[in-house]
């Protein structure tokens, strides 16, 4: 079995460090490699796209882009990674479980619990797109386009315009948006 490529996205450094420690504890039973870590969703998407990550451990409450929106953007990738939410808030948990999310871990996480989640992810479980809509129906803050290992994000703002013709969509945005 090739090592599972894992990316960690959390805005708090101690939380990322804790996940790295726990992953280390799981390494013997489930070989994996850390493909990268990011402090926010925007950075995280670039890393996931470039590294072709297979599993993403992601916090939900983050500045700029929530974990839920982050997971939505992942769905446009050719091979979206399995998403495991890791958060201190348990109010989304019920919805997530109802719709069979890959997994939903509450902080602080036990190594054995993380291992179970990783095993599920390794077995090919994937989060369905519709699941994300039902967990958090808030409007997205970014448009995303994925091509050849890159993801382009455009912040949704009133200054953007989108036109659609001949099967192409053109989005015009201002530099800095």
């Amino acid at each position: 079995m090739t090592p599972l490529r894992v990316v960690i996205v959390d805005d708090e450094e101690p939380a990322r460090n804790r996940l790295l420690e726990l992953l280390e504890d799981c390494r013997v039973e489930l070989p994996h490699s850390i493909a990268g870590e990011a402090a926010n969703g925007v950075e995280g998407l670039q890393i996931v796209a470039a590294a072709q990550a297979e599993v993403v451990l992601v916090d939900i409450h983050m500045p700029e882009m929530s974990g839920i929106e982050f997971a939505r953007h992942l769905q446009i990738l050719e091979r979206p990674p399995a998403v495991i939410f890791v958060t201190a808030h348990d109010r989304y948990a019920v919805e997530a479980f109802e719709v069979n999310a890959v997994d939903y871990l509450t902080k602080p996480v036990r190594a054995s619990r993380l291992l179970t989640a990783l095993k599920k992810a390794a077995n090919g479980a994937r989060l369905a797109r519709g699941v994300l809509e039902s967990i958090d129906p808030a409007p997205r803050r970014y448009f995303s386009v994925a091509e050849r290992g890159r993801m382009t994000l455009v912040r949704v703002s009133s200054r953007n315009s989108a036109t659609c013709s001949c099967g192409f969509i053109a989005i015009v945005w201002w530099r800095g948006d």
Binding site: E13, P14, N17, P63
Partner: protein, 337 residues
């Protein structure tokens, strides 16, 4: 620990130095006098006569009583409620008796019967007002117990507790010393929050509570959280309601720091200006994240408790200016000395 359900505020005498309390006493005594005059007169002409008659003997007594209570309020505060109440009755009766000879100048007969009559009314009036303040205390009890509950819940809220525990776990292997310090801060914070905190406390204690809380938040937010303390001299001894600042600092972190990627500054400015204490708290304002709940509840609760302790002499205002959310509180500067 006492049960959370034990809601009632302990009975306490009102603060006789408070402008609101003084005006409530003056107003209610005069309303009582008017009702009394109304009850004892059969026509409008007689009513006016009765009013001026009662006012003539009542107002000097009332004035002297208010002044004596104002001057003796620090002594009264040290007494248990029942003893304090007896002392107030004693003051009222003593002043009534002492001023009684002057009533003869206003046309009173000055007889024993009239003295007994005056003392009787003074007792009834004082009783009625003591009852009013007792009821008012009762009415505010829910605010106080709700504050304790809210304080408890706020600390035990998953968001704060679990994130903090997670941050401490991340330290245990690499930096056990720091993990120890963090757990000590956490237990100190819980201990303070769990004690029965309904009386005024020294601002210095409230500030150390805030520092313990901010130390823990610093652990997870690191560079993103910056606090600019601007504390004037002689503020540590000032008496403030417990949990006055901590919930506001917590809100500042939740609404002002967490939603931002870039570092944000929380400014805390506290100073004494003559006999007033001024507190100002400012944090970055994120328009996009205003759906986050909880701010208004904390503010309403603090406002209510300020009103209970300081009546009309305290105020709390909020405003948004230059991308920052600001809270301003003013209250009388009091110390336990």
């Amino acid at each position: 620990m006492q049960s959370i359900r034990q809601n009632d505020l302990p009975d306490a005498l009102p603060d006789f130095r408070n402008l609101g309390v003084i005006s409530r006493i003056l107003l209610s005594v005069n309303v009582l006098a008017l009702l009394f005059a109304l009850a004892r007169s059969r026509e409008i002409g007689e009513f006016a006569e009765k009013v001026s008659e009662i006012a003539g003997s009542l107002e000097p007594i009332l004035l002297v009583v208010v002044i004596v209570l104002y001057a003796g309020s620090t002594l009264l505060e040290r007494l248990a409620y029942l003893h304090g109440l007896l002392a107030v009755f004693a003051v009222v009766l003593a002043v009534t008796a002492a001023l009684f000879p002057f009533q003869t100048l206003l046309g009173g007969s000055g007889g024993w019967r009239e003295l007994a009559w005056s003392l009787g009314h003074a007792t009834l009036g004082t009783g009625a007002i003591a009852w009013y303040f007792h009821l008012r205390n009762r009415a505010f009890s829910p605010a106080i117990s709700e504050a304790r509950l809210q304080a408890l819940q706020a600390r035990i809220r998953p968001h704060f507790l679990f994130n903090t525990l997670n941050a401490v776990l991340s330290l245990i292997r690499k930096d056990p010393k720091r993990a120890e310090g963090a757990l000590e801060d956490l237990s100190a914070l819980f201990r303070t929050v769990m004690v029965d905190n309904r009386q005024l406390i020294a601002l210095g204690d409230e500030l150390s509570l805030c520092r313990q809380y901010l130390n823990l938040e610093q652990l997870r937010l690191g560079e993103r959280l910056r606090v600019d303390w601007r504390l004037g001299p002689a503020i540590e001894e000032a008496l403030v309601p417990p949990m006055l600042l901590q919930p506001l600092v917590e809100n500042a972190v939740y609404h002002g720091i967490e939603p931002g990627i870039a570092p944000g500054v929380i400014e805390v400015l506290i100073e004494r200006r003559d006999d007033r204490l001024w507190l100002q708290l400012a944090n970055p304002y994120h328009e996009d994240y205003q759906h986050r709940q909880g701010n208004h509840m904390a503010l309403a609760n603090i406002r209510e408790r300020l009103q209970l302790h300081f009546d009309v002499e305290a105020s709390l205002d909020t405003r948004i200016a230059d991308g920052r959310y600001e809270i301003g509180i003013t209250m009388p500067y009091r110390t336990s000395l």
